[in-house]
């Protein structure tokens, strides 16, 4: 059910552009108002979320230790998986953010004939990595629309991308990886009964949206051959606060823009915020040197205690009879 709703939601987005542009000619709405609003909501929402997290303190240092602690000098410690220094924490976070370290551990547990097995299972890791990096490359490639002159590395990126052209003259490799990886993530979610069971509409929606973005982008670039200078002029206009929605750009361009705007709006209110949240996860971003350096809890409030004196008061007779030392004799 969730999957259908999410799919229909993305279809509805597309239809609204069709009607909006083709029938009503709402170029200002879809080409100016929506992108501006989306950008503002994205930046504002993102900030509010991160500041909201940051406002709550970290009362306890609770790193999940995934390797040997630093203890005796002759025992080799896992300086990244169980970091005792800031450098170790930075390395751990870098591996987590750039290489999805924890996901790399993934195993598939199977119970067969009364035996459990834990086979290494790197598919999710590989697809996740492929998706995130191809998305990043595509974003960087899009800088050609946002910058004049186009930075060298953007051109270089596009060229490298083009080198790996699977025989198709124009298709850029990353675009294919992107669509492939998102499709895999979607299929995986549907194919596994367990995963389907835990999935919410909000898990399918971003995947469909990303597919729509990818498909419309590919189509614009390779099929309808978008008027690049016109698109760039329009984007630059938006950036320089003198927006001029281009008449020459077709509906599909507005659809692409609308999908991206939707993603921007959706982002801060959804699980996509894991992008920022991963940096604030206390099981990963703290040093595990908790016996070496005291972690301070800002709200460490006093609690009711049962003191030794109260204890001795209750058990004094019996302690004396047992010959245990006492603070007070009576």
């Amino acid at each position: 059910m969730g999957i259908l709703v999410s799919f229909l939601a993305v279809v509805a987005l597309f239809l609204s552009v069709l009607v909006g542009i083709d029938s009503l000619g709402l170029r200002w709405l879809f080409g100016v108002a929506v992108p501006y609003a989306a950008a503002a909501l994205f930046l504002g929402g993102f900030l509010v979320r991160v500041l909201g997290w940051a406002r709550s303190p970290v009362p306890f240092a609770i790193p999940t230790t995934c390797g040997q602690q630093k203890s005796l000098p002759w025992i080799k410690s896992a300086s990244i998986e169980n970091p005792s220094t800031t450098l170790g924490v930075i390395a751990r976070m870098a591996l987590e953010v750039f290489a999805f370290r924890s996901l790399f551990r993934n195993t598939k547990t199977e119970l067969r004939d009364g035996r459990l097995s834990y086979a290494s299972n790197k598919w999710l890791w590989a697809a996740g990595l492929a998706f995130h990096y191809s998305f990043l490359v595509i974003l960087l490639r899009h800088l050609r629309f946002f910058m004049e002159p186009i930075p060298g590395f953007v051109l270089a990126l596009t060229t490298v991308d083009g080198f790996l052209q699977l025989g198709l003259p124009v298709v850029l490799t990353t675009s294919l990886i992107f669509v492939g990886a998102v499709t895999f993530l979607l299929v995986r979610r549907v194919a596994s009964p367990q995963l389907r069971y835990i999935s919410l509409p909000t898990d399918y929606f971003p995947l469909f949206l990303l597919l729509a973005i990818g498909a419309s982008g590919l189509w614009l670039r390779h099929v309808t051959k978008i008027d690049v200078p016109a698109a760039k002029a329009m984007v630059m206009g938006l950036l320089q606060l003198s927006p001029k929605p281009a008449e020459s750009l077709g509906t599909l361009f507005y659809a692409h823009l609308f999908f991206v705007s939707t993603l921007l709006v959706y982002f801060p209110f959804s699980k996509l915020m894991h992008m920022a949240g991963v940096f604030l996860s206390p099981t990963r971003n703290l040093a595990a040197n908790t016996r070496e350096v005291r972690h301070v809890n800002p709200w460490n409030h006093p609690v009711a205690l049962h003191t030794y004196d109260e204890y001795e008061e209750e058990f004094r007779e019996r302690m004396r009879d047992a010959g245990l030392p006492l603070e007070k004799e009576s």
Partner: protein
Amino acid sequence: MSEDLKPDQLEYYKQESLLKVDYRPPATDWMQTPTAMRPGAFIYSAKPKNIEYIDFPNARNWAPIDEDWKLPTNWKEIVIQGIRERLDKYRSFKVFMDICVRCGACADKCHFYIGGGDPKNMPVLRAELLRSIYRNDFTTAGKLLGRMVGARPLTIDVIKEWFFYFYQCTECRRCSVFCPYGIDTAEITMMARELLHLLGIGVNWIMEPVASCYRTGNHLGIQPHGLKDTLEFFAEDIEEVTGVKVEVPMNKKGAEVLFVTPSGDFLADPGTYTAMGYMALFHEIGLDYTFSTYASEGGNFGLFTSADMMKRLNSKIYAEAKRLGVKWIMGGECGHMWRVLHQYMDTMNGPADFLEVPVSPMTGTRFEHARSTKMIHIAEFTADLIKHGKLKLDPSRNDCRRVTFHDSCNPSRAMGMLEEPRYVLKNVCRNFFEMPPNTIREQTFCCGGGAGLGTDENMEMRLRGGLPRGNAVRHVQEKHGVNQLAACCAIDRATLTTVCDFWAPGVKVTGITELVANALVMKGEGDRKLNFRKEPMRGEEDGHV
């Protein structure tokens, strides 16, 4: 199944039937699937006297199987307010509520899901049980779109579901190792249990030890004179076995070291043998130490209750160290105890500026890694002794034992003490075998009875949760003839005994220091024919030759 067997008895269950785990999710959506409380899979409610003793709210008589849980009239308000407070106090809680992507990487990592197949025991869904309420009342999307974004209103059935599933999480943190964002379902379970306590909902297996510990200093409620009797009794046993008379230092002012260990070691076999091991070892090296009756508990069931309760119980250790004027503190073999000591104690009840950085009087080693907390683990201490050749060991005395090591959840995933116990074990016994790599070290599997779930009332879940560990033990039993499972945790020593009896019969559970003491050649010892269990030291052959 025989008529008179009950769900809280091991014999009630059969391997073949528990092994038929059905991983197919129910036909109904999880929000629509009601919670079925079945005997053997939940723990009885806390008795009012235990709740009242520690001044927790809403103490009353109720039972999980009752239709009416007699919640306070403003229960909803209490829970929502409770969530709000915790969101403001814990970044972990807030972030974990927001960023899960339901990738499912954690799903088949939980021993309860592996052994039971109930999707609500997938860590991700366990967290969603609470997250759905959070979304409903604390997020804009949830308020506007409800079920579409995974939100649902708080009802009494939700409370019952929380009670069932948050007491089917042993706070082992295995899921958190695999989560790409480090989401720690244990942390969420801790929050949920705190919320339930606001409504007077807790389990007696936890709240009785908590109340006892608050009053008598230990979970088992052993009073000071009782503890003295127990330890003296251990000393007699040690003398009988080794011919060496050991001292029983208690509440001794001016001792160099305060030794704190879980009270489980004082009461139940096989933990008691480990306790004897501590005493024999300390005597042999001439350590100036003392037990305390006031701080006679290393474990801390407060950890399974609330942060404040954990702090209240834990405070006794530093208070007692200060009163007795010791230099530093050593802790015995316990699992969750070390989560508290390693990650919470200093923050909650420190700074321990009245103590000194631990230095081994035998080797001169300064334990810099405990520079602030001033508390070290006995495995760290013993490993250092062995490394410096301070112990005379005859590992052949443990030859009849073919040993494997169970990493307890907290020493591995909340501390990282992986090599020290292995180093000690390999020096005191000659037949050591590791279990498969995905079941040890940071990926170790829980015994199934941690976080206060280790009672027979909960037998079905303990056996199901114990399946992955039991399976790995069985593997080394068949492959290497392993007959001894060593664990540095008092809960393990109790719960794994059951798990092994069921899943790998024939394997016995031991502590590390028990094996150390077996191998320890003591000054003035007699002919060591018996081990601390009073069994023939070298096994059958020895007994008969």
